[in-house]
Structures are given as C-alpha cells and as structure tokens.
Symmetry: C2
C-alpha cells in the first residue's frame, strides 16, 4: 500500500483521520492472533525449577537438554579464533561463504551429486526452517507433521499463517510418517510434509527405502517434502542416506549444532530445489542478511578430517550411553517399544507410573532431583503418558539419574510420598505394540 505525500493529501483523508481517532484504543494489548497458537517450551518450567533448586544447594541430574554436553571440538574452536584473528568480522555473502557451500555440497558425495548453488547457509537450522516455510506457505496452506515431533516445526508453520496438521504416530510406524499416512491425510489444501530422521523426541529413523516411497508419494501429490536431518550424523547401528537425492521437490534442513557440536555458534544449512534458491536468497537478504561470519569459518573446519575424528569419538560415546540407558529405563518400567537409532533421546512411556507426564516430570525433579522433558512439548497425542529423556550427559551422570529415578519410583510405589497419590491418579497400561517389520 502506498500513500501520497502530505502536500497531496486531500480533505477526505483529514476527515477519515478523525474517525480513526475515535477508533483508537480498540485493542487493549495488540498481540498477533498467531501468538495464541504458539506455545512456550513446557520444559522451561522444569528448567526454571531446576535452576531454583540448584541455587538452594540441591544436586540436579540433567537428562533434559537437546544439546551435546561438550564444548565445540578443538579444531573448530581454533578455526573460529583464526578467523577472528584474520579480521573475518564483516558480513558474509547472503547465501553463505562460497567455500562452505562448496564443502557442504561435497559432503554428500560420492553417494549424491549436489550443486553448491543449491546449498544455503543459515543462522541455525531454525533459520533454514523459517526460510523454507516463509517461501512456500500462503495463509491456510496445510503442512503434514508427525505427532510426537519437534515442537517448533508446527510453530514455524503457524508463524507464516500456515496450518500445521499433526498426524498421530505410534510405535507401529516407529513414530514416523509413512507414504501411506501421507496419502491418507493429504487434502487439496496440503502443500508440504515435514519429516525428521533421526527424529526428536523419539530418535527413530526413516529407512532409505521408506524415504524414497515418501518422496515419490509427495511428488505425485504435487507437494513439497521437507526432511529435517538435524540429527543425521548421530546414527547408531545403521546407515542412513540423506534425502537430498530423493525424487521430487525436496528440501533438506541440517545444522552444525548436534553432530558437529556447535550449538552456540548458530549455523545451519538447507539444500533446496534449484528453482527455490532465488526466492530464498531474496528472503535471506531481507530477514537475516547472512549467517554469522566467524561461525561459518569454524563450520568449514568442522567438515574436515581433524574435527571429524573427534566428532566420531563423541558419536561412540553417545552410542555407549544409549546402550546403557535404554535397558536401564526399560528395567525401571518405562515403555520403550522402538529402539532409538539416532539423536540422543529416549521417548519413554511413563503411563505405568502416571497419567500426567508433566506432573510426573515436576515431581521427579522436586523429589529426586532429575530433570526430564514432559511429552506435552512434542505434541498432543498420548503426550501425557510420555516423557523425553536425553542422554546428552556423561555415563556417570546418567547412572546417577537412573539410580535417582529408581528410588523415586520405588518410593512412589511404596506410597511413601503422599503427593503422588493425587498426582498420578490413573495409571494406564503401557504401549506394547511391536515395532513394524520394516524397522
């Protein structure tokens, strides 16, 4: 909309401004309508209480955080320092340092040939998801997502006036969408599907063959497939191809935060269809300018062999922790029907102990000093009977956490803690479905 300069405003506008004034203050606290659909992280109430307890001198075992428990690997840190010493403190090119885009493109070789032109470096994978959704979503457009899933995804859709359509998934599909589910839920308003592999909060993966089926289904339906590969480097017992090579219109979103251990630097990337790069560049210029320059130099080093060796060592540590924590939690009575094959989370059914996982998480913190994430952060479906337990902590701390959870559950069962009688009033049976054949 465009208005003429003051010298050319006619009397009509002066009149209208009088009526405008009479309309003033009609909104007492102007908040966008979207804000009522965007939720805070419920785990923040756990985190805030944990902080308060620590200030009081309590020992807290953290099994809650979506962040590796390491500082960035030394070669990465040294590359950041070298960039700063070399004065690399000015704006980077909008789509990223050419050398980093090239290195990221090459990182998919030899399996998949990716043109560096299709790679966009972003301020974290959050920035990548913003770009992808802002570029494709008109108001009312639907995006299919798995529930449970990473909570921000549906909020990104809502941010740009799209409609997130959460599809309940369970152990029968390893808590993942499938080509079949996508076809069944597709409507004329659907424009895109987002899947995560490995997923947060479950840590389950979509095997290559199913990803291929998903991509073909979305392509046939005329939609766009977005694959969140943020935990892609953190895979155990299996191999996983990138969806970069899948058929149709596919966006792959990735990050230097998790496998590369660079959370605080804020660098991610996307690989998109060639025809979307020009619109995305336009958006980057307007809404980000560029990702952090020193962080991009550090990220470049993260792709090289010296850092890689340390990152692989860390991946082995995550594997050891998973292999400790998974059977330990099962022994305690948590229902974990699908073995997590990636990321650093276990999505556990706690309905053997409670019908309110948020109250359970807070009681566990209060009574036993263990911080975990309530299921409510990851969707609606059966969220009150699930919690997410992170193994981004040392083996020693995880052992202590398991000991504390065990003592808490024993105390709760023995009726020692009166509070639990009202907090966990309706114990329900744990999930027992077997994992599907393709898993």
């Amino acid at each position: 909309m465009y208005r003429r300069p003051s010298s050319q405003i006619d009397a009509a506008l002066d009149r209208s401004s009088t009526s405008a004034k009479s309309m003033a203050s009609r909104r007492t606290s102007p908040l966008a309508t979207r804000m009522s659909h965007i939720e805070p992280f419920h785990v923040m109430s756990v985190m805030r209480r944990a902080d308060a307890l620590e200030v009081q001198g309590r020992s807290i075992t953290y099994m809650v955080i979506g962040e590796p428990d390491f500082s960035s690997a030394e070669p990465i840190v040294q590359a950041g320092i070298a960039a700063l010493q070399a004065g690399k403190t000015r704006y980077a090119p909008d789509l990223g340092l050419p050398a980093l885009r090239e290195a990221l493109a090459r990182s998919y070789a030899p399996d998949i040939a990716v043109d560096a032109e299709r790679v966009v470096v972003t301020p974290g994978s959050s920035g990548a998801l913003q770009l992808v959704f802002a570029t494709m979503l008109s108001p009312g457009d639907e995006v299919l997502l798995a529930d449970p899933g990473y909570p921000c995804n549906r909020h990104f859709v809502r941010l740009f006036e799209g409609v997130p359509v959460s599809i309940a998934v369970d152990a029968s599909t390893s808590y993942q969408l499938t080509a079949d589910l996508i076809r069944r839920h597709w409507t004329p308003r659907t424009v895109a599907v987002l899947v995560g592999s490995p997923s947060n909060p479950v840590g389950s993966v979509i095997p290559d063959a199913e990803m291929e089926r998903i991509a073909r289904a979305v392509h046939e339906l005329g939609g766009i497939l977005i694959v969140d590969e943020i935990y892609h480097g953190l895979v155990y017992d299996t191999t996983l191809s990138s969806a970069v090579g899948a058929p149709g219109r596919v966006f792959v979103v990735n990050s230097f935060s998790k496998y590369y251990g660079m959370t605080g630097w804020r660098v991610g990337w996307l690989v998109g269809p060639q025809e979307y790069i020009a619109p995305i560049e336009k958006l980057v210029q307007n809404i980000f300018i560029a990702a952090s320059t020193p962080a991009q130099y550090a990220a470049l080093e993260a792709l090289k062999p010296a850092a890689r060796a340390e990152l692989e060592r860390r991946r082995q540590l995550f594997l050891e922790r998973r292999d400790y924590l998974l059977p330990a939690l099962r022994r305690l009575g948590f229902g974990i029907p699908v073995e997590p094959q990636g990321a650093f989370y276990i999505y556990a059914d706690c309905s053997h102990f409670t019908s309110d996982s948020q109250a359970f998480a807070l009681a566990l913190l209060e009574e036993a000093g263990v911080a975990i994430a309530p299921g409510l952060d990851f969707g609606c479906y059966r969220c009150k009977r699930h919690v997410r337990i992170s193994y981004a902590n040392s083996l020693e701390n995880l052992q202590e956490g398991v000991r504390r959870i065990g003592a808490f559950l024993a105390g709760s069962r023995n009726g020692r803690m009166r509070k639990e009688d009202t907090m966990f009033p309706h114990p329900v049976a744990p999930l027992t479905r077997p994992a599907p054949a393709w898993y």
Copy 2:
C-alpha cells in the same frame, strides 16, 4: 489442526484422499503469495556487475555498502577469542546472556532507567524486527512507514501478513514521519508505526521533541511505536536521546553492527514494553533458540571503555568523510536539501542528470567504476530521481569516487557517451525545498 492416528481413520478420510489425489499438482510451483511482495535488493545487480568488472581487472570504487569499512575493534575481537578459548560455544539463554542484558540496560543510564528484563538480545536487529512484527501483526494489520526507508522494514511487515503503508516523505520533514503525518494516515486497521533515527537512506534524525510528539500521538491512537535506532551511535553535530524513554508502547531496536562495527557477528537487541517480553520469549525459543554465544561475549566487551575509545575515533572518521563528501556531491550537481546528521549515507537527488536512477547507477559503474545504490531499493516515492551514496569508505577512496563521478558527469554532459542519451532521456529539476525549521 490435529488428526487421529492411522488405526482410527474412518472410511470417509480414505474417500477424501482419493479426491485429494485428483487435486494434486494444481500448483505447479508452490511459492507463498507473500513472495511476490518481497523484493530482492536492487543494489545486488550493481554489486554483481561490480564483482564481474573487478574480475576483469577494472578498479571499482565502492560507495554503496551499508557496512563500516573496518574489521571489529581489537578489544571486541579479543573478547570473542577469549570466549572461544573458554569454551563458550553452547546455547546462550534464550533472551541473551544476563550480563549483556544488564549492560545494555545500563547503557541507557543515567538519562533513562531501563529494567534489564525488558532487554532481549537478538540475532542482529533483523532478528529483533522479526520478533516485534511477528508478535504484534495479525493478517491485514497496517504499519505506517516512511518512504524512502530501509527496504527490509516493509518486507518484515509483509512476511507476517501485515500491510506496510508507505508514506511519502520529503525534505519538508527531513524525510521523516511526523506526529502530524501519523495522525493523518492512521486508520482503524493501523496498529503500529516504524520510524528510523538516524534513518537509512537519508541519515536524518528525529529530534527529541518531535519523537516525544510522535510517541504521544501513537499512544493516543492506541498503537505501538517501533523506533529503529540501528545507527544511533553514529550521530554528528547533534545529540539524540533514545526513544526507550518515550511514552506509550514503544519498541526500540538496535544493533552491534553499525556503530559497534560488528556486522558479521550478528548481534542486535530490542527493548520492549514489559508485557511483550513473555510472548517474545516464546517466539525466540521457537524461531531462533538464541543469538550466537561467542558473539554475545564480544558484544559485552563492545560496551566497555576500551572499545568505546576506538569506536569514537571511528565516528570522527565518518564525520570527516561526511564533511568532505556532502559539499563535493553538491558541487557536482546532486540535490541534497537535508544535511545528514547520522549513519553513513547521503541520499542524493540525481534528477539533474537522469530520470532513471537505476540506469544511472549501472552506467556510473560501467563507465566510471563507481558503485552506488539506486533509490528503488528504498521505496517508490521519487525513487527514480534518487541514489544513496555511502561514505563507509576511506577518505582517499571517496576522493577518487568523487573524481570519477565528476568525469562521468562531464562526459555525459558533453555527449561523449552516446549511451547516456537514451539512458537519461528526461532530465528533471532537482528538489529545492528548504529544510524545515525544526531540523
């Protein structure tokens, strides 16, 4: 929207999926409707051509860039290095490092008391503007902006389905909105006004008394005032208070990029009304997680005396450059009715030479090797008769640029370059309005 799990889908959904399939591919290239309203930076065509010419061995004088021509000051760089050496590479708190929020709040003292709770550290001021508009704008809400103005502002509004209302301003108000203009253009759909002081592209400021009137007007109208203070430290010949202390609902957006010379680090901040901080925190968690951690430690140092001394030295350099460039451009025949008092830009009327400032900028680059920004990047109003010339370059380079522009104009006037005859077909008289009394 929420869908039941696959096991509970009824036959109706299966039927609808058949009709969905027949609707597939109805959109051949799904781009959001908003994308047709968001423009790329037109200056990029100038920049790309400049790059190409440099590759060919041509010497280019850059008077185009919105970025200081210095690397970050040494104390800032050293603080970044120290943070990295100390392993500060993990997520920062969502609203920013407490020490940085405190230091930013204190930076408004003793003039204005600001509670650190109202300060949010963001990924650049771009991040701050995203948060502000996403939090307040429902689809169709109008935001008043000055034309000419920073192009991204109207695109941020459009990004969140708001309607940017560009109000043409000229020298009669120092190219700024006024309380009177705001009252005249306010409608029942208007929810906010954005002003920039010092402004980009003009470098004009809104004097404290007028800012107070603007804030009171917006408050009376029941709206929100957003003040872009990104160039706030770069003010010459005058003093300027922050609008942080202005009455009503006021958001102030600022950045470590310009005065603090930290463009590539990507750190900015906002100070908002207390009641907006919780909604904004919810958004930060979802769309950014946090601003870059090492960059926040560096920014903390930027507020301390050692860095300040160097930043003030640089401000003096900008002042010297302005004092050279302004009369030099006027002598060449550019119309600059308002003396810029801040930032590092001169918004110049080139209608004495051309009726198409974009063609003029490209011809100046091609023939004389000087890169400047066309007015089209800053709005619609009289944009074809204006260019933005940046003095974020050394005095020597600016002198060379002026020499080149002079030779180009002389050649053009003498009819030496046939091309210009068609490129500048309709010379029009330059603006001659005097600056207003309050300026």
